[in-house]
């Protein structure tokens, strides 16, 4: 295993700095929302993690197609890495949303279309790893995983558009308003700064974690190859 490239080391540090700045902007710089109070501040990380996670799931679906065409296990490793990091980010999204919902909607959870599709998406990708665990043959595992991730990838756009297509109480902050939404708010200029910075910061953090996870996958592959060689 080669040493960590200098670019990745720099990206690790940049990610940490961006996370710090984004936290500062969300907790200190952005003004307090008058109706909901401080809990509205979780919105910045909620959207930041949701955006990167959904993009990651779509990226994984794209890698699935590439794997099915090229049959190169490299693409399988890229896909697994994208799904694993996205799964962690999406877990944060759901938990932050639930925490926000408690004071805003007076409940931790409701089976609203957005919340339901988000929960289904998370469960689909947890099941993805369970499926992979159950298959020993690497090629078969990659093939099954690719087909599953390709179909599972559909859940990402469905989750994104759920609040735009169905009647829901989940607010649409960007790109439209929903008559039934509860807890929506208009962003001030300072809120927009914190919001867009969080989107940028989480995109960089995602790339950093993703790159590190790919390297881990490559190392795992090397160990598995050597294990086969030694046991034969």
């Amino acid at each position: 295993m080669q040493d960590k490239p200098i670019t990745l080391k720099v990206l690790d540090i940049v990610s940490l700095i961006l996370l710090g700045i984004s936290t500062y902007l969300a907790l200190v710089f952005a003004p307090t929302e008058l109706v909901m109070g401080d809990v509205q501040r979780v919105f910045y990380f909620h959207i930041g993690t949701a955006w990167t996670a959904l993009m990651g799931f779509i990226l994984a679906a794209v890698f699935s197609v590439v794997y099915l065409i090229k049959k190169d296990l490299k693409w399988d490793r890229y896909q697994v890495a994208a799904i694993e990091v996205s799964l962690v980010f999406f877990f944060i999204t759901i938990v932050l949303g639930s925490i926000w919902a408690r004071p805003a909607w007076n409940t931790w959870w409701t089976w609203d279309p957005r919340l339901t599709t988000a929960a289904v998406t998370e469960l689909i990708y947890i099941a993805y790893f369970m499926l992979r665990q159950g298959i020993d043959d690497p090629d078969r595992r990659a093939r099954f995983g690719a087909v599953y991730a390709l179909v599972g990838g559909l859940s990402a756009p469905i989750t994104f558009f759920a609040i735009r297509l169905f009647r829901t109480i989940h607010p649409v902050v960007i790109g439209g308003a929903n008559a039934e939404a509860e807890g929506g708010f208009a962003m001030t200029a300072d809120m927009r700064v914190a919001f867009f910075f969080a989107l940028f910061a989480f995109t960089v953090i995602f790339v950093d974690l993703y790159w590190n996870r790919i390297r881990l996958g490559n190392l795992q592959e090397k160990v598995e190859q050597l294990k086969l060689k030694v046991t034969l």
């Binding site: 501040r41 990380f45 030694v230």
Partner: protein, 65 residues
């Protein structure tokens, strides 16, 4: 203006949210570091096994001559 509802104190939820977000990210980074360390250990062990197997094979060939 006098009837306006004051902003509620929901800072506890905010703190809980950020704490969970940071703890989750930290746990994930730690899990990657742990997995990486274990894989490096496995790799070293397997490389040593591979090396000794090759040495034995070479010694067997030499004694066969």
């Amino acid at each position: 203006m006098f009837l306006q509802t004051p902003t509620p104190d929901t800072s506890g939820y905010m703190i809980a949210g950020y704490a969970i977000a940071f703890i989750t990210m930290a746990l994930y980074v730690a899990s990657m570091a742990l997995r990486s360390r274990n894989l490096h250990q496995d790799l070293t062990t397997l490389q040593e096994m591979d090396k000794s197997a090759r040495e034995k094979e070479a010694a067997g060939k030499q004694s066969g001559r």
